[in-house]
């Protein structure tokens, strides 16, 4: 399928290959799932978020830069081709509202929705501003041990993760993590693409989903989990992104509540120099 893909797919980087889309008319693109970003029973949710956002970024009618993205994981995708429909439902003077839907063809030949999403792009203007979520005090990335991948998840090999706090428990004993509620499900991690890649908006969308499930930290038990919806707000300008270079991004994630089969995850991403790039909220299904 790679023969059909545009020049960007020729980038050596697996991220660019994974999110590459081929246009078919104004509002339709096709792509192919990436074995390099495979998770347990489907693609890594972050790569799907990046694909959806990339359809908006590649759209000829796009106005401005991403402000928000909500992606809903309707079904695990199967390996193979998919179709992306990306439509500007409303274009204002400085904001634009997108509805995105991703389809795969079932074995029976039916076109089935596997992802839904909405996004807003906008022309952002310089204003007064303040960051009330400064980067927490953490050691430099070079002073934090790199995580070795000991689980059979291909996508994890695509990220360099240096866990500052809240690393994945090694024992899944089903016991609740004691201690302060503020930190009982808190993970702080330095991260970047492997190999390093200067982050763009699509990379940030993927980074927002890089945290392992909060329930595994809060009550380590090997229960099935899956993100059902993720919202990502982009606070970074292109200049902020350019300033990231190949540096690390600090990610922080925490669950606020776990109940009746779902938990949420509040997350932030900062550049290595402390610029708050992204705030995010997601809701995740878990069993038992």
């Amino acid at each position: 399928v790679f023969e059909e893909q545009p020049a960007s797919a020729l980038s050596a980087h697996p991220f660019d290959q994974a999110i590459a889309l081929t246009p078919h008319g104004a509002d339709t693109f096709s792509g192919h799932t990436s074995p390099a970003y495979w998770n347990m029973v489907g693609p890594f949710g972050g790569i799907s978020a990046a694909v959806v956002l990339n359809a908006v970024m590649q759209h000829a009618s796009r106005l401005g830069e991403p402000v928000s993205l909500t992606i809903n994981y309707a079904s695990a995708m199967v390996p193979g081709v998919f179709t992306v429909s990306a439509r500007a439902a409303r274009t204002n003077r400085s904001t634009q509202h997108w509805i995105v839907e991703v389809f795969q063809t079932s074995q029976a030949g039916a076109q089935e929705t596997v992802l839904t999403a909405c996004a807003i792009t906008a022309i952002r203007r310089d204003t007064w501003g303040v960051n009330d979520m400064p980067m927490p005090p953490v050691p430099a990335p070079q002073d934090v041990a790199r995580q070795t991948v000991d689980v059979p998840l291909e996508w994890l090999k695509r990220y360099e993760l240096r866990m500052v706090n809240g690393k994945m428990p090694s024992t899944f004993d089903g016991l609740e993590n004691g201690g302060a509620l503020e930190t009982a499900s808190l993970t702080q991690v330095w991260l970047r693409d492997e190999p390093p890649r200067a982050p763009d908006f699509c990379a940030l969308a993927a980074f927002a989903d890089v945290f392992y499930p909060r329930v595994y930290l809060r009550r380590p038990s090997p229960v099935p989990v899956g993100t059902v919806s993720m919202t990502v707000y982009f606070h970074a300008s292109r200049a902020d992104l350019a300033a990231c270079g190949h540096g690390y991004v600090l990610g922080q994630a925490r669950g606020q509540v776990f109940r009746d089969g779902f938990f949420d995850q509040s997350a932030q991403l900062w550049s290595e120099s402390g610029t708050l790039l992204v705030t995010s909220l997601q809701i995740v299904y878990f069993k038992e």
Copy 2:
């Protein structure tokens, strides 16, 4: 237009009247904007969220209860009728993915998108759970003064607000709110419908948008503002809602970052007895 509306519109409560929808075929509803919930240049964003969710709730094919709702405010609505398209893009065994779009007819006769939304409903099951965001220590609602409405916003009269912390500044001097970053844009408020109404999922969606713009607290300056996207996660079961009765709900909201014309707002809602009902994130446009 009220003659066309279903039995629920006959409820004396203005909230029920405002969210009332008339079905037109499987996936289409019509409604009418409510003067009772009018904001500055359009309806209160919370009532639009409630309308959108109500289309899902009223849909004959709905599976389960709301888990997530993202609403995007594409354009200020004009007074009058609107059309809601609510479509189940995917129905799984226990989750269902909705795409909702709200239209109004322009003066030129064109059907224009004014709201887009996506929602997930699910059959929730009893599981292990823990609340890591307990209700903050606040005085009882009866011990907090009721806010008097001194701004000409009709929708504010539809809520009883008792501001615990972070009330709207009386002087808009453009000076940054000093003090700790954690509380510089923090509001905690007891709230309920006026007149009291036992909250349902639609009411919670509206409650999530009841906070005045965080920028007005963080740097009181009379700048134009408007929510562009709001995500609401529902953690409450029907039993949790029933337990609320006509009691108050505690709302908490805080901005994480203000930059380049947008700020975000992280929010939580608890029942009077301390059950975390909702977590939410929204992003708001501001000028200057």
